[in-house]
Amino acid sequence: MPIVVTQSPAKKISDVNKWNVTGTVIDSGTKEPLPGVDIVVKGTTVGTATDQSGHYSLSVPARDDTLLFTYIGYEKMVVPINGRSTIDVKMSIHNVSGQQLVVIGYGTQKKIDLTSSIASISGSKIQNVTVPNALSALQGRLSGVQITNNGTPGSQPSIRIRGTGSIYNSNPLYVVDGMIVDNIDYLSPDDIQSVSVLKDASASAIYGVRAANGVILITTKKGTRNGKMRVTVNAYDGYQTPSHLLKMVNSPQYITLYNERLNYTGMSNQDLNPANFTTNTDWFNQVLTGSFTNNEDISIEGGTQKSSFNIGVNHLLSNGLIKNNNYEKLGLRVNYDFDISQHVKAGMNLVAALSKSNPAPNNLLLYSYRAIPFLSPKNPDGTFSDPSSINGFTPPDGTSKNPDAMLYYNHQWNNKLEGMANFYVEINFLKNFDLKSTLGLNPTFAKSINFTPQYTVSANQENSLNTLSKGTSDNLNTSWDNILTYTNSINNKHNFTVMAGYTYRVQTTDYLSGSARGLVDLPVINQSYLFLTLGKTPDYSVDASDGGSKKVQIGFMGRVNYNYMHRYLLNVTMRADGSSNFPKNNRWGYFPSVGVGWVISDENFMQNIPLISLLKIRAGWGSLGNDNIPPNLYQLTTSNANPVIFGPDQNTGNGPVSPAVTITKSFNPNLKWEVVNETNIGLDFGFFSNRLTGSLDWYHKMTNDAIFATTALGSSGLNTSGVWGNYANILNQGVEATIGWKNVVGNLQYNVSVNGTFNSNKVTKINSAGASYYDQGDGNDNITPLTRTKVGSPVGEFFGYKAIGVFQNQQQIDNTPHLQNTVPGDLIFADVNGDGKIDASDRTAIGNPNPPFIYGFNLGFSYKAIDFNVLCQGVYGNKIVNENRILMFTTRNYDENFYKNRWHGQGTSNTYPSVLITAGDPRTPNSFYVEDGSYFRIKSIQLGYTVPQRIVSKLNLGRLRFYANAENPLTSFKYNGFSPEVASNNPLMSGINKGVYPLSSIYSLGINVTF
């Protein structure tokens, strides 16, 4: 890249302590002067900034110092003074497609040399967003990466890279500082230096095992050699409120609906009288609240000639929207690298976090949804009111609960200590060889405590004895990676890197849990006093259980990166992986990949086209494996069944219990690797001196032999556990585009970037234990099936009757195919097979949960000391099943939207049914419950003010910036729920909203200080 420094003849001045440097800074493209460029003497706080005409003058301590030129939107420049007194500088607009190093699997590569689709983002962008976890910060920024948030404090969003490729688990692989880890809960956004997302197979293949759903590579912050000691403090305080509240019916509206129901079923003599039910409780208001959240991070970095370090500590307090629901985390980071000798380096990376949270009561939001508005939280005497009997009214739903009491009697704590640490030694020998051996540990120690005191609210909401459950789990991943790299360049034309490696990973999990009933009453309920053996009443009993698993993965890998003059690029990898999750005969998988690239703009014939700064085409093909399945599926195992007491002591409580053991699952001795074959063709471009940059990728990603558990025919007796096997082929095909524009106009620098991804998801083959498709539903609430995955359709497509209107009168019913017992106001279902009757064979596809289009949009500008950034994102075209409604509409409660739009007499609605919904079971899945899941969101708006360098220098600070941030200030959607983001780890049940946590808007003020 043309980084041009114009040199003036050096002056000979003996006074080394007072050396003056002057010069002008101009844009390398437009040749216009750049005002406000920060200039600092490296390793000091001495600095200045250019004036309106781009001139600067600086008095430096020594003539051999180095100057750093920084300007937002431009490449940073490092210019040694070398005794000069005039240094004019041409700065180039920050170039995304240039020499920048991108973290790839087991190494780094210049972006220009990449042949695969890798999206990367720097830590500074992640840190510009006030979200508690790093993954949420990526939302909307990267094409091909769909991130769905979960509002629960401390939870991680769900991530899909290039669509849903696996049925059991579509989560990507996380690699932190070279180590494969299962999750990245413990990372704070402030720990991160950069994130690379390996999207296509030719990039991911080097991670063979489990790379089938993409790889997210995270590098934590490192120190720099010879760097000055620098302390950075980032902190923000924010206030969060629910971004949308769902309005439920009030008491008079509820009574109207209830009486309509009675009327339609011929029982109007039991009508409720509104005069008897004057209480009006807004239950969501009752359980939700605004809350404060804050985050502080301190980092210290520095380096000598032979070592560098970056250590940090951060603290996050994230209060949930549900009362008393919170998450707090204290994290540490220690990264230290040093030279043992000229050829031997060593170092360690450590990130660990201690977190504690108070989870909300299980299903609180569902119970709040179903709570009847005329139930008051408390009786006049201060006790909690009984939801199963209100002023003599017995609600039809015998299982309702008083949400206020749920909150009051909820005492839960989750504590977790987790992190990753690795230690490496790297030996450089024979000049071109480099051998690196890394030992890594990734432990998670978790403890959960749940105490429920003795209480009674109603028959369905009570606990007869003080009960304590405690669980601990120890998970440990140990890995050992050995990588040998040979790098050489012949005549600066043939550049190649050859890598060979061996990797070994063991994953063990172990849990122990116990519960005690009949503990004595406690004066204070505090987790430090809660022990299973604490004060026993005569009713005391205790139970314990434990379990665990072990998995071993071994891999051998090799890679050749070759390029001719950085113009013709070739990348070949091969990986062989063994995983103990597969039977011995199918244990090894072989995953090759190849990628080629051509930097057209580097050709001679392109040199005369000044408009084009970069033009590169890439193509790659690769094969990836997935062993992310439960262990031991190929082995027959037994488990405990219902034990029985025979004999005369059957009912005394003291009879001998005969244990029962059964085989609960079918094992599959032929289980084999799930393999993804992916082809990617991409184009990178830069125009107008790289002011306009972008890339375009097309991919074709075929998952073969996807592993999941299917429902076998009931007659095989294997209903509940399913039968595991390689059953389906899934094709994800799509186009991703990213386009950015950056420019500087006078003091105004701005950038705009847009990204969009079209993805189509289709099952191309399915054969699950004899069945031609795979159904999944909500077994807990007996709503099955909700989705049907079949050939030609997307994974987890919604399935049910198609509602095409509402019966207005009896005559219409008589003339239209209908379910038995249909009455006016019921939904009209389409007679899909045209046989003149409505039955199960008329159920059809009623919506795709996978968004065909996702997009993001970012606008940033800075003017002098002010900077401003807006990030928007959205999804388009997906559907959501409003299961909350399905559950409520049986007998429980209604949202206001339904009340306002429902059918309540001929001609009142042809889209919303009456309160009865349909003949038969109102829970029957149908398209009335399927809603548009599209949304558009302003994800964040940030306004910052950077105190000018000259003031900051006087304060002895390096940088000082204040900002105000609004996170999720606006989300626009049609869906009748809290949030259109419905995350699920089960791809077959995605987009099904059952008690999803509300999303919040966070308004915060923050500060960044460096000194």
Partner: protein, 524 residues
């Protein structure tokens, strides 16, 4: 190549060599690590070894009988609410899909059928596991025969239930392996023959003498013999309900009587009459579980040490729809049953009425006043419930927990000797032996407080009615209405049609899943 000219420091070379050597040796040893087996569960190879293992697999079969789907509305709907004995119950709008059993408006996609189907085959699979693995085990032959016989009995019990519910069903004999998940349906006759072969094995291989105290509740050869009688009765009744108008596999009432005679003359069963006029009441209380009258019942109990021991969700599902100590109040005595029974109580002093049905406001034997919901769906008038499931408060074990689970120890009575006596009465009546028939039916009548019938007064209808009241709420009535051909008149007005409703539809889920292998019953 420049680097070859570099002089390598020998010390460094040693270090490198040492590191490479270390990596190689450890790598080789790590590769062996791939060969480990199961980590936390008992592998198959170590399971089917001892008699305890075989027993544990058999106990799983017994234990499954109180699984939720065996006693929740999935069973109560098709086997009770569809009859004229009970109605849906519970409050308006609660599980309203069950109303379909009142007017026979259900379709094959009603999820209840699927639950029913799946749970029965899941239990059959547990029996099949025993039958597959136990024969090859090196254990005492007597124990082995006993265990195999019991597994066959329970399997026969389940196929008898399935064939009466769904008609031609899948006979799955063996365990699924290597893709053998989808076996087609067998004909009704073949299912019945399969049941008889299981019972025959049980009769020949199980013990005849009752179990001692330790194993009270396990079935014996006589249970298999007694069940054979009931199965044969259905086969002989084929002309009343089979579309071809013929007895199934040519079985006759002679075949039935031969077995009932054997059981009555040589078997160990007696009616429980120890409590005089109150005998029928006490028969359903805890102290008379597994008494001499019991042929087969679900073994529920309570334990102060093991929390997951078998409990009866049957009580929860049917007991008083109320708050504390209440149940869900499903499958409550219908208007028709109550009216007929009340009259019978007044006319014939049928005490069973008092011992089987309780009304809101009644004071029970332990002083509990029945309270709860003020109205129940599907019936008119005072809410009422099945009294047979109740455990008086003073008999409830103080197990840990509150609410309904106080009453979970109740054993659901599946097959009683009085049923066999009525089978005998019907067989003898049909064979012209009115006197013999009267002897059997009168044993049942007298215990219930009713006057004995003279042989000349005996009619088939009276035997059937006796069955209705004696076995009310014991999952017999609906099947009996079909078997006897009464369904057309009794259930016809509510929507039951012949031949469509003789069998329930195969669950739509299963048809869908089967990829064409399973076919729907005719007319559905």
């Amino acid at each position: 190549m420049l680097h070859f000219k570099n002089r390598i420091d020998m010390k460094r070379a040693y270090k490198i060599a040492a590191l490479i050597f270390l990596i190689c040796t450890v790598s080789v040893s790590c590769t062996k690590d791939l060969n480990f087996g199961d980590y936390n569960k008992l592998p198959q190879a170590k399971f089917w070894q001892t008699k305890d293992d075989a027993m544990a697999a058999l106990v799983a079969c017994y234990g499954d009988l109180s699984g939720w789907s065996f006693v929740d509305p999935s069973t109560l709907g098709p086997e009770q609410m569809a009859s004229d004995n009970t109605a849906k119950g519970s409050t308006v709008g609660s599980q309203s899909d069950l109303l379909a059993f009142q007017d026979f408006s259900f379709t094959p996609s009603l999820s209840r059928f699927n639950n029913l189907w799946i749970s029965r085959y899941s239990l059959i699979n547990k029996c099949n596991q025993v039958l597959k693995y136990v024969p090859g085990m090196n254990i005492d032959q007597t124990d082995k025969n006993e265990i195999l016989g019991e597994a066959r009995f329970i399997r026969a019990w389940e196929y008898f239930e399935l064939v009466r519910l769904f008609g031609p069903v899948v006979v799955y004999d063996g365990i699924p392996a290597n893709g053998a998940y989808d076996i087609p349906k067998s004909s009704v006759a073949d299912v019945y023959k399969f049941i008889l072969s299981d019972l025959d094995f049980g009769w020949k291989n199980m013990r005849k003498q009752p179990w001692g105290p330790q194993w009270k509740g396990r079935v014996t050869a006589w249970a298999a013999r007694a069940l054979e009688a009931k199965v044969l009765m259905y086969m002989a009744s084929g002309p009343n309900f089979m579309q071809d108008g013929k007895a199934i596999d040519g079985k006759t009432w002679n075949d039935v009587e031969q077995v009932t005679n054997d059981v009555i003359q040589n078997g160990p069963y007696h009616l429980m009459t120890a409590r005089g006029d109150s005998s029928f009441f006490y028969l359903f209380r805890l102290q008379y579980e597994n008494c001499d009258e019991s042929i087969f019942e679900v073994q529920n109990g309570s334990s102060t040490t093991v929390s997951a021991v078998n409990r009866s969700p049957y009580v929860l599902n049917t007991w008083i729809k109320a708050g504390r100590d209440g149940g869900f109040g499903y499958s409550v005595p219908s208007d028709n049953l109550v009216a007929a029974w009340k009259k019978r109580y007044q006319d014939q002093h049928d005490l069973r009425y008092k011992y089987s049905v309780i009304f809101k406001g009644d004071t029970l034997v332990d002083g509990l006043v029945v309270d709860g919901a003020s109205s129940l769906e599907g019936i008119t008038g005072t809410p009422r419930y099945n009294y047979k499931v109740y455990i008086p408060k003073n008999e409830q074990t103080n197990i840990k927990g509150g609410g309904w689970i106080h009453m979970v120890e109740q054993n659901e009575r599946l097959y009683r000797y009085s049923d066999l006596l009525l089978i005998d009465a019907e067989a003898k009546f049909r064979l012209g032996d009115k006197a013999g028939a009267a002897v059997s039916i009168n044993k049942v009548r007298v215990r219930a407080g009713e006057p004995p019938l003279a042989p000349s007064d005996l009619t088939l209808q009276k035997i059937w009615d006796e069955r209705r009241f004696e076995l009310a709420f014991e999952n017999d009535r609906y099947f009996d209405l079909i078997r006897t051909g009464q369904a057309k008149t009794v259930l016809g007005p509510r929507g039951w049609t012949f031949p469509k409703n003789v069998f329930y539809p195969i669950p739509q889920n299963q048809i869908d899943l089967s990829n064409g292998k399973l076919t729907q019953n005719p007319n559905w």
